[in-house]
Symmetry: C2
């Protein structure tokens, strides 16, 4: 039960301590026989290198930390997925911490990662990074994800405004006259989506628009409540198009409308934002605008690598990924399904799998839709 250390291996193998270390880190420096002998001894003894000691002695290890606000949010998972693949590609490990929607915890894990001699750290922050300014001048490369602000560090953000625009254009194309936007617009990303909607609608003053706050967590239950409220309105005050700033919200709204006997999309059309894979791989897919989460995670790691390789503290870089946002056109409802515009997401997915074997670039966004 006593832990086996490197000196035990050295003694047992009859070599010196430094040689065992070399076997681990620079195997090419050793004579093949020696290497073999040491490896056998390592396995026989069940030796496991103490990472803490390695990191302490050797500086940063090849691993990245990623702090996410939640794990059950599809978008965050796409980020994680993209970051993971890119990190592995460079031979780095990725460790994920769940901040559980808690500022304090976010800060805690951030500090933890920075203190663990990670090679780099990424956060998808809840608040603006200005919130923890100390972090930006840390000795560890850090990249903020999915946040859009004038802070002097690296960040990668989706163009949330573009997403709003896309949704608005969708509504316009469907001939909407009265749009209700559901969601807690206080979150930066959502604010931008709303802004995008407003901008796109500026040319259409005849379209009425309304924004309804949905409570703090933007849950399906919140959406349900608002859906019920909408259903209860007299028909002429009821919108003909509802935008959930989140897919989960949109789902809740739909549930309520259907429950109250309102046809979707017959009487009210509903669309979401987030590209939540499960929202549209469900039996009746939801129309949604998918921000390029996978690509954001991927790009985040690339920025980290960039900082690591050019040791010089390069100029902070702001990357906006906008063009990748895409609409998955699908239907939201029960009866009058328009098959023509129904794009089964997993068909996209399958297409992407093929594409990825050819060119990496085009596969990225589709590949995220697991």
């Amino acid at each position: 039960m006593a832990k086996v250390k490197i000196s035990d291996v050295a003694r047992e193998a009859g070599v010196s301590l430094g040689t065992v270390s070399n076997a681990l880190n620079h195997p090419e420096k050793l004579r093949p026989e020696t290497l073999k002998l040491i490896n056998e001894t390592i396995n026989r003894l069940g030796y496991l290198p103490n990472q803490s000691a390695r990191q302490l002695a050797g500086g940063a290890t090849k691993s990245f930390g990623l702090v996410l606000p939640r794990l059950d949010h599809g978008f965050s998972l796409q980020i994680a997925s993209g970051a993971h693949n890119e990190a592995r590609k460079h031979g780095y490990d990725l460790l994920i911490a769940n901040a559980d929607n808690d500022d304090i915890l976010e800060d805690h894990y951030l500090r933890y990662f920075m203190g663990t001699q990670m090679s780099g750290v990424m956060v998808q922050p809840m608040a603006s990074p200005d919130w923890h300014p100390a972090m930006t001048k840390m000795p560890v490369p850090i990249v903020h994800l999915d946040i859009h602000c004038s802070e002097p560090g690296y960040y990668v953000a989706a163009d949330n405004e573009a997403q709003g625009r896309i949704i608005a254009e969708l509504a316009i194309a469907r001939g909407a006259h009265h749009i209700v936007v559901v969601g807690r617009a206080a979150f930066m990303q959502l604010t931008l989506r709303v802004l995008g909607i407003h901008k796109a609608l500026a040319l259409h003053p005849d379209i009425k628009i309304e924004v309804i706050d949905a409570g703090e967590w933007n849950t399906a239950a919140d959406g349900y409540g608002i859906g019920a409220q909408i259903a209860a309105r007299p028909a002429d005050e009821r919108p003909d198009f509802v935008v959930g700033l989140t897919d989960v919200l949109a789902s809740g709204v739909i549930s309520a409308l259907v429950d109250k006997g309102i046809s979707v999309p017959g009487q009210v059309r509903v669309a979401g934002c987030d590209g939540n894979p499960l929202a549209w791989s469900g039996s009746v897919p939801l129309t949604t605008v998918a921000p390029p989460g996978y690509e954001i995670g991927r790009k985040g790691v690339q920025l980290l690598m960039e900082q690591i390789e050019n040791k010089a503290p390069a100029k902070p870089k702001h990357v906006h990924i906008g063009s990748a946002a895409r609409t998955v056109t699908a239907v939201t409802a029960t009866e009058d399904i328009n098959r023509q515009e129904l794009v089964r997401p997993f068909l996209l997915e399958r297409a992407s799998t093929q594409a990825s074997s050819q060119t990496d670039a085009t596969a990225i966004n589709l590949g995220a839709y697991l």
Copy 2:
């Protein structure tokens, strides 16, 4: 840019090195003024403790590692969520690694965590833990999750057989005559589900049962393919009840059936397994049996704590969580929704939130349905 270390803080604050260390780890031992002075200096200098050094010097830190096969699987997320909450409750951090369905990577991260002086490690293994036997005799507490085998370590598993039984009973109750089970039964957990179905059906020899393999990854596309195949059958060879061993599979099947003009559940009923939150918080929820993922994660951490506290290597413990599996009765289809049996998941969720403030025990499973 040079890293600030504890000695810098000490010098700057005019105290000794050990005092700063105490400020960090045993603040109660310091005079309030001293503590305040040191904290101010820490903030002023932007000092960040080097975790590696702390761990090396002080033994294990209060953190757990969790290795998951994938992040985009709802069940794994529930595990993560339960583990996270329980860990935080005890003041531990939880770090998550994504093995990405890769044996090698799983092993890699496992070793990484064990080497990082984690206080404990949990895995939701892809293969049987016998696969990496070396791990079980490691000096770090380890708990296997969601795996059911005769291996001499700690594990927490859902009673997958019970889930199969529940599904089968559901089918029987609906008067099924011909059941098709869809999924790659080669995965241990799925095998047990199938076993449970068979056992429950043993008393009903009149019910025909068929198991169809769905390819390696059990994707929605796989389900779609099988759904299409089912739809293409002559009506009298078509099942009246389809069980997706995975919610995603079930979704795919439903999509295909509906596409081909077969009414669900009018002509064919479909149910899933997994309790995938997003599968049934969608606009048209899917009937599913929810294994207690949250509870598994929670219990896993509890077993870890147990091993940590009774320093003596207690007898390995096998915990099966079965009774918690519950059916979320909902509908799968378009028109003929039977409102009575529709249980909106988020209503459960809301109920659970209330319950959790009263008794912890009953809230567990509901709380997982975020």
